[in-house]
Amino acid sequence: MILSTLVFLPLLFAFIVLIWPNLKTVRHLALGLSIAEFIVSLGMLENFNPQSASLQFVEKFNWIERFGIQYFFGVDGISLWLVLLTTFLTPVIILASWSSISEKLKGFHICLFILQTAMLGTFLAMDAVFFYAFWELSLVPMYFMIGIWGGARRIYATVKFFIFTMAGSVLMLVAIVYMMYLTQEATGHMSASLLEFYKLKIPFVGGTFFSVQTLLFFAFALAFAIKVPAFPVHTWLPDAHVEAPTPGSVILAGVMLKMGTYGFMRWVIPLFPEASEYWAWLFMLIGTVGIIYGALVAMVQPDVKKLVAYSSVSHMGYILVGLFAFNAYGFSGGLFQMLSHGISTGALFILIGMIYERTHSREISKYGGLAGVLPIFTIFFFIITLSSIAVPMTNGFVGEFLILIGTFKAQPAFAYFAVSGVVLGAVYMLWMFKRVFFGAQGELVRDEKHPLKDLNAREIAVLVPMVAMVFIMGLAPNYFLNYSKASIDNLVNSKNGYSLTLTENAQSILDFVPGNAPSGASDGSANVSKITPEQGDN
């Protein structure tokens, strides 16, 4: 029950917010509820068995029996940290939006909670249709979040965001339906379960675009690539980020982009192993170009937020390259980079939001000399900048290093180009940092009538967990990597016969209170039901 609780608790929270009578305490309420959600997710972490590559805490019921669609939740090492990232960021976001969101408070927090449900569902659903439902659901609250609380061109941005992502996911829907049909061909009964999909042997012909597996591969890959966003389809992101309110940007960069890369890891690569391998060069190329292109374009942005948005394109390019290296370094690095990008870019957007609240401008040229006026803000911004340019001992380095080493192992040529991102990343971030924080005081900083105030206690409270995560992940990456190790090894080692076993740690909800874990929680082997006994016999 833990996963259902985890996914649908925010929906309940949204309802509580809706009927909450006192408008003044909505923020406190939402903060408390989101922290409760985080604690529940910590409970899941505590009971998670890191040694096992199987799906854990599985919940599986028939939903639409005729089409074999199931209510199917499960978590493994790939989705575990993304779930934690989502639940970790939500309270931070609520606290960060304390003063920036003042209109339609209830609506905002309802959107946020529904979004949380959708994102968690996307990471945890193991049935194609079920997954697709959450995937699409996540668009709606985001659409409103940008469209209602956004900036001047919010409608343009939100429609662009919606249509871009929708265009991709429609293809994915077609592919899902076709794959359900394939399961019927293969087994006699229709199924949308991911596990059934894994068992399919989809015919693949190299050298042509029009083979079944290739087409399905691209249908899925396009949907995810748009979400990532990979290089040529990235243009919705800068607009969406610039217009989105701070919390919207944080969620977008922090979690929603990871839905795309997660999709590659969970769906595209294991489902279409031959096509993935055949077309890997294309995606590595896209990723590499994205790294360089995103960095170059970020360099010349006049708007801080747009700069960070393009830096996301660059960072997500790394992840794409890493995933398509198909080795343990690339996958671990990609997964780690997803987390660290969520933390560092999320924190960057929060910081930009804080300064925007004070000056109502994000124009780099209007700043300058901020370091002398807002020292605490500068320290925080600098630490996050370091994380973003992947200085060792911060979280950014581990992911980038692993990805690059994985890329080098798979395709050295791409690594030679991708490594230039290390330089360019420093260029755009430090150049921006210099123009905003150093030098003579700019017109916004100088303003005598409205002297800028340094961060208050609430803002520091927002940033401290983020900065703490930057260093914890940088200094003890093994703690995080160990949890996904088994799953990633499984992904690497069973390229053409990927399968997932199920572990049904059926437990009462009380066991998930942290510290209350039963000792036998991790001996999942007792009740493993092997779904896919035969594999790799072709």
Binding site: K160, I163, F164, P232, V233, H234, T235, P238, Y293, L296, V297, M299, V300, Q301, N327, A328, Y329, S332, G333, G368, G369, A371, G372, P375, L386, V391, P392, M393, F397, V398, F401, L402, L404, I405, F408, K409, P412, A415, Y416, V419, S420, V422, V423, A426, V427, L430, W431, K434, F437, F438, G439, A440, L475, A476, P477, N478, L481, K485
Partner: protein, 643 residues
Amino acid sequence: MNHSVLMALVVLSPFVGFLINGLRYKKHSGNVAGGIATLAIAISFVSSILLVIDLIGMPSETRRIAISFFEWIAVDKLRVNAGFVVDQISAIMILIITGVGTLIHIFSIGYMHHDKGVAKYFAYLNLFIFNMLLLVLGDSLLVMFVGWEGVGLCSYLLIGFWFTDSEKAAAGMKAFITNRVGDAAFLLGMFILFMSFGTLNFHELNALAPTVAEASWMGSVTLGTLMLFIGATGKSAQIPLYVWLPDAMAGPTPVSALIHAATMVTAGVYMIVRLNPLFLAAPNTLMVIAIIGAATAVLAATIGMTQWDIKKVLAYSTVSQLGYMFLACGVGAFGAAMFHLMTHAFFKALMFLGSGSVIHAMHEEQDIRKMGALRKFLPITHITFLLGWLAIIGIPPFAGFFSKDEILAYAFHSPLGSTWLWAAGALGATLTAFYMTRLMALTFWGKSRVPAKTHPHESPVSMTLPLIVLAVLSVIGGWIGIPHVIGEHLGDVPNIWEHWLHPLIREVPNMTHMDPSTEWALMGTSVGLASISAFIAYNFYVTSLDLPKKFAESIKPIYNVIYNKYFVDEAYFAGVINPLVNVSKNLWFYFDVNFIDKCTYVIADLIKGMGNLSRSLQTGNLQQYAMYIGIGIVVVLSFVITR
């Protein structure tokens, strides 16, 4: 005491100092902040000494203290521990870093006394020492890289310490980004080595290093070491990435002494020495290193002859001296490289601190044209600077003589060296003697050109004390590596240095013993050249001051090119940076905004057009709709009937 406790003390006490000073960054009291910081480094220094004493007590075959604190990254075959090693090489480094570091901290207390951000300054300084220790103590390339990047970061922070000056902030950024170019290559080097050896651990890499030299340019050892060397050119300011170091003089002078002379910039040399078996297996790489080193030594020295800023002269001198160290590595004289690294740390730190003392006395004036005859006002600074000068131009028995001589000897007769490399080295030494004498003459000797309103004064004890200590070291520092030819005449003085490093330095293949007479001749030549050059410079800048001007006039075009530093910065701007920015702007404007987005607009317009087309059917006229229904029925019916 337990080794791991000692090791933790060495590494962590500067970090604790950083935290303390960093958290009280708003405090303005220099003495307290400086006291805390100095204490932190002193603890580290004492612990280092204790460690090294233990190390000396060990038998030379197993002389190694390795401590691993925790597993940092473990993925697949990549297993990197937060492990630290004290052996013969890193022992020297930690003593230099913490020892010279302590002196420079003490100097800083006096120098930065009036600065408002003094607590911040000491915090950065401590953080730097912490990272530098990580760099030298790390037991694998990756841990070294952590420190490698970390020192770059601290260098960035300290160069841009007075960040309100946009130029200084830009200098910091330039340093970081130039270093990053090197770091990217360093990463690639690590990847190449990891792929071929399956480890990043120094000990294992050196053990696995092939004993047969690799002839191909594209072999993994050659390529890997070449990439690491490019990384080193960034950190150690060699051609083509040396451009950041002169600009880095924007930082406070003690910073220049600590980071940009004594410690950080030598990291590249240290790295090569650490991996010397690997580099020896790649003679092509060594050739590149030797050529780059020699070229840098000469090029930087020529620029140094024309500069007017006291710190810039010293900066180019540092670049040039680092070139020597690389030349030494390139010809296989790894021990000599380390030796020169140490002596250079002493005399260059001394000279930088001396220049700091001068600048302090001159109220932030750095132009040597406005100095002269300062020996009257700054006696201690003058004497100590004088000793540093003697050391750097290589007059026996000062420290620089021994180390420089050994490098030149190797360049001459090592199988990896050549007469040309020796000639370049000797030319560099001659030029060094010239510009250093010029600096001495213009600053301390001759007639005073000090503006009337400035009243130079000798610095406080906290500043002169480190000068004196370093001066003593600059004199005696070379005596632990006295070459055999001299040693045997002095009653069998042993070459302690060589003995100490011997277990970790792989011998250059086919190395023959040098004829004592050749060695004497080489020594005589270099000392003679240096003396003549120094004498000429003295004549130029003390006796007949108008001569240099006339000389510069007579070779004006060449002089201008050199004075403008060969226009390298300008070339980088015109050739790399500006095109990159322009391309990026165009990419953004033409590709992102005007191509990708336009494409999506076209698709949207297409759909919109289709909508418009069908929209015209919906007229709002009820009767027309009825008509459509009627027509529809007729069509359907006729279809059904005729079928």
